[in-house]
Amino acid sequence: MEIPYTISTRPDTGLWNAKVGIWLFLASEVMLFGGLFSAYIFLRLDAQPGEWPHGLLNVPVGTMNTAILIISSVTVVLAWAALKMRRYRTYWWYMLATILCGAIFLFVKLYYEWPQKFEHFGAFIKRDKLEKYEPYLGNKHAEEKGLPPRLEISGHLHNHEALADPNIKEYEIALDPVNADPANPAMDRPHFLYMPPTEKIGTIEKEDVERISSFGPWHSAYFASYFTITGLHGAHVLGGVLVFIYMWLPVSKRLYQHNPEHLANRVEVCGLFWHFVDLVWIFVFPLFYLL
């Protein structure tokens, strides 16, 4: 028994089966990421002034990753076109390029961007103690400029042991530029280029701190959304890369020799998925890095 229209198109719909299937799958993916992005909007609208952080992500690196994904979307189309022209060698190289792009994207996320966040700490100051830390927060300056209040002092935590040891009464933090020089108008807006923490050490008394945590998912609604959405997106990238690797391996060459159109269809379907993953990133990048 043979299932009809696996490779050839059905005349009245003009489609083969997997193409219908992948578009339906993408529709459900739109709803999945749509749910997560709605949650982002919902939580962001609910946030009190000063509670939604800005400028904590590395914009140049994010821009680079965006470019890498867009390039991979181009190469996967070229790979498909090469198959349609029955040029397997060209296909093989373009597929390799796509796989490498996906791998670089994941590598940057997992070995550079994410770990950096876990090294970075932020201390939320109790509302009635904000004035005491005016040199770090610069809220008078912020108020004059009509900026949201600053509630958090962030940077690299020098004395990690203070987190667990009740005998240590203070946190020592190598301050981020915004807390090192809060009244400087250059610090009013997030910067495009990444600015590492300064040499200046800020001392914060434990009892003035409402909560201290690294920039992990537990830090705020912002980082919760960031890690959940980029995590799920990363899982999609990983899935795409694994499937592409399968299509690039010699096992697919056998399918090509047997039925080249079948392999071309498979690449087309996975390419559609890959474009979708790319498209999700086109939303992630401005929402988390820029806005």
């Binding site: 299932i3 459900s28 709803m31 749509g34 992990g216």
Partner: protein, 636 residues
């Protein structure tokens, strides 16, 4: 896909499938020896086997979920008393802390309530109504050899199976199964089953979430497969308006599952993050639990969960009812020997229901105080959605008018479906109004309302479908007498259980009371001679008797596989394409590729010697002049 060519022949069970008419019979029997029992019946990719697997698993889960409720009914009718006999043995099964001395603890009661809802809906009704009937019947009705993606189909079943297993496992972890209700409202479900006594992952609520991810994956794969199959694999000449109504119902259901489940998956991922990665998606700042402030970032919103949950939750209601509509429509037309009345309006009603079901979800959240503008919008859409539902029900009633009705067992269940669904639907209208719902919300009235829709409604539709398509799966009929012994007590008990709950609800009795209302003032108010609390006793006895009434069905179901009355390929003298296939259909389904020449319900055509004309019977020249409505077959 092409690997499916090397699959075993026999899809049904009990009867050998190779028929002398099958041109591939020789090949098939050759491969049959190579594949063996496991590939044929367990790890099969044949849509009929998967349908039957889904059906049997779903029925077992249905009975298990019902058993949980039968246990709860003891606590409601006789709160604090030891359960006789079973009460001694259940602690050995569920754990010592669940029913010490046969008395149910409040925690265990909460677990039973949450798992009853979860299991009945997501492991019982959806698998049977959508996956089992959809898998078995839809490809046959559209004249397809199988689903478009047989391996994906098998993956869907196994994802369901793993999800079900995880849900069941959660009963046996420390602390027991999830306790937050089937809706798992936050912040309660974010903080329950947490603390030193619980494992981070292996606790009831977290396992509930993980199990759900598998169930959603299963529905997603199934839904994609169904839609693609219906679009791509319709037989020649089977145009959209010649599809049986059941196929339309499944088509819309598949779209609901495809588009409504992912937002819940998003919510479940977020709750999982809340529980395992210390995020605060659903937790506002300043939460205090057991007198101690939680160390969380806050900034989350409990209402976000409700929105995302009900964005699935309401379409889900239609996932439960639409397949039953489809089944009932088929059986009514077949047994009244008349075309289904208003076929096109039925189809468009189902489509409108599908669309509207996405914009009514907030009527589950009137108590959250959304403001009058938002409430007005959702009240309007909620009332609008009742219009297509009423059209469908009316068309079904009119279909009966003037028919020569055969009251066989499928027809009994199908006709009982109509008033039962009617009661469930009409009692929903007060809940659609913000002002009335403020009083009725979370009372037994709501329980009675939706159970009238899914229990004597959908479940009767499913029983009707099982009795109706059983001969196609096995080549034998289920016993008529025992079918009636199953039907009448079930119908009476259903009403005995749910009708008094309307009264209890109108007294103000809350749906989640552990003691059945005994300790509450409103539980002592009288209605029809009994207090609200005392009504629990007849309701509980009704539930237990209904449990007994399922025994004839279970025995009949298994006994008839080998010993039922043997019947031909079309025992009900029906018109749709599945009845042109052999019973049970071989692998690949049809002996000759079917072609459809006419609509799905050509019953009692004038001038014919039989009162049914099957879809694959060509239009005769005489007929063409007499009946202008029968068009040329559209061949593609």
């Amino acid at each position: 896909m092409d690997a499916s060519t090397s699959l075993p022949p026999s899809p049904g069970f009990g009867v050998t499938s190779e028929t002398p008419r099958d041109p591939h019979a020789h090949d098939a029997s050759h491969e049959h020896h190579e594949l063996g029992w496991w590939r044929k019946y367990i790890f099969s990719t044949d849509h009929k086997v998967i349908g039957i697997q889904y059906g049997i698993c779903g029925l077992i889960f249905l009975f298990f979920g019902f058993s949980l409720m039968m246990l709860m009914r003891w606590q409601l009718a006789y709160p604090g008393q030891a359960l006789p006999v079973l009460g001694k043995w259940l602690p050995y099964f569920f754990g010592a802390n669940t029913m010490p001395d046969g008395k149910m603890t409040p925690e265990f009661y909460n677990s039973l309530g949450a798992m009853h809802g979860t299991i009945m809906i997501f492991l019982g009704v959806v698998p049977v109504a959508f996956a089992a009937f959809g898998n078995f019947v839809v490809p046959l009705q559209i004249g397809a050899p199988d689903m478009t993606f047989p391996k994906v189909n098998a993956a869907s079943f196994w994802a369901f199976w793993v999800g079900g297993l995880i849900m069941l496992t959660s009963f046996f972890v420390p602390g027991g199964a999830a306790k937050g209700g089937w809706t798992s409202y936050t912040p309660l479900s974010d903080i329950s089953d947490k603390g030193p006594a619980f494992h981070l992952i292996f606790n009831g609520q977290t396992l509930w979430l993980i199990g759900f991810i598998f169930l959603i994956t299963s529905s997603l794969l199934g839904a994609i497969n169904f839609i693609t199959t219906i679009i791509q694999l319709r037989a020649k000449g089977l145009t959209w308006m010649r599809l049986p109504f059941f196929v339309w119902a499944q088509f819309v259901t598949a779209f609901l599952l495809l588009l409504a489940f992912p937002p819940l998956e998003a919510a479940i991922v977020m709750q999982l993050m809340d529980r395992t990665a210390a995020t605060s998606f659903f937790l506002p700042a300043g939460m205090v639990v057991n007198g101690a402030p939680l160390n969380i970032s806050g900034g989350g919103s409990p209402l976000l969960w409700q929105h995302l949950f009900w964005f699935l939750g309401h379409p889900e209601v239609y996932v439960l009812i639409l397949p039953a509509f489809g089944i009932v429509g088929e059986i009514l037309a077949n047994n009244s020997r008349k075309p289904l009345w208003g076929y096109k309006s039925l189809v468009f009603s189902v489509l409108v229901i599908g669309f509207l079901s996405f914009i009514v979800w907030a009527h589950h959240m009137w108590l959250t105080g959304m403001g009058s503008t938002v409430s007005a919008f959702f009240q309007t859409t909620t009332l609008l959605i009742s219009i297509p539902s009423v059209i469908i029900l009316s068309a079904f009633f009119i279909s009966l008018w003037g028919g020569s009705i055969r009251f066989n067992v499928p027809m009994l269940f199908a006709t009982a479906f109509l008033p039962m669904f009617g009661i469930g639907g009409l009692t929903g209208i007060p809940l659609a109004f913000n002002s009335a719902d403020l009083y009725l919300h979370d009372t037994y009235y709501v329980i009675a309302h939706f159970h009238y829709i899914v229990a004597p409604g959908t479940l009767f539709g499913l029983f009707a479908g099982i009795y109706y398509w059983y001969p196609k799966a096995t080549g034998r009929k289920m016993n008529e007498f025992w079918g009636k012994v199953h039907f009448w007590p079930s119908l009476i008990c259903m009403n005995l259980i749910f009708m008094p709950q309307f009264l209890q609800g109108m007294l103000g009795m809350h749906r989640r009371w552990y003691d059945g209302g005994q300790g509450w003032t409103v539980g002592g108010d009288h209605v029809w001679g009994l207090t609200g609390f005392q009504w629990n006793t007849p309701i509980s006895w009704g539930a237990w008797i209904m449990g007994l009434a399922q025994i004839p069905f279970i025995i009949n179901f298994f006994w008839s596989i080998k010993h039922g009355e043997k019947v031909n390929d079309n025992p009900w003298e029906a018109t749709t394409l599945e009845w042109t296939a052999p019973s049970p259909p071989p692998h690949g389904n049809f002996v000759t590729t079917p072609v459809a020449y006419r609509g799905p319900y050509e019953y009692s055509l004038p001038g014919r010697d039989r009162d049914f004309t099957m879809q694959n019977e060509p239009v005769e020249p005489t007929e063409r002049t007499r009946r202008k409505a029968v068009e040329e077959p559209v061949l593609v």
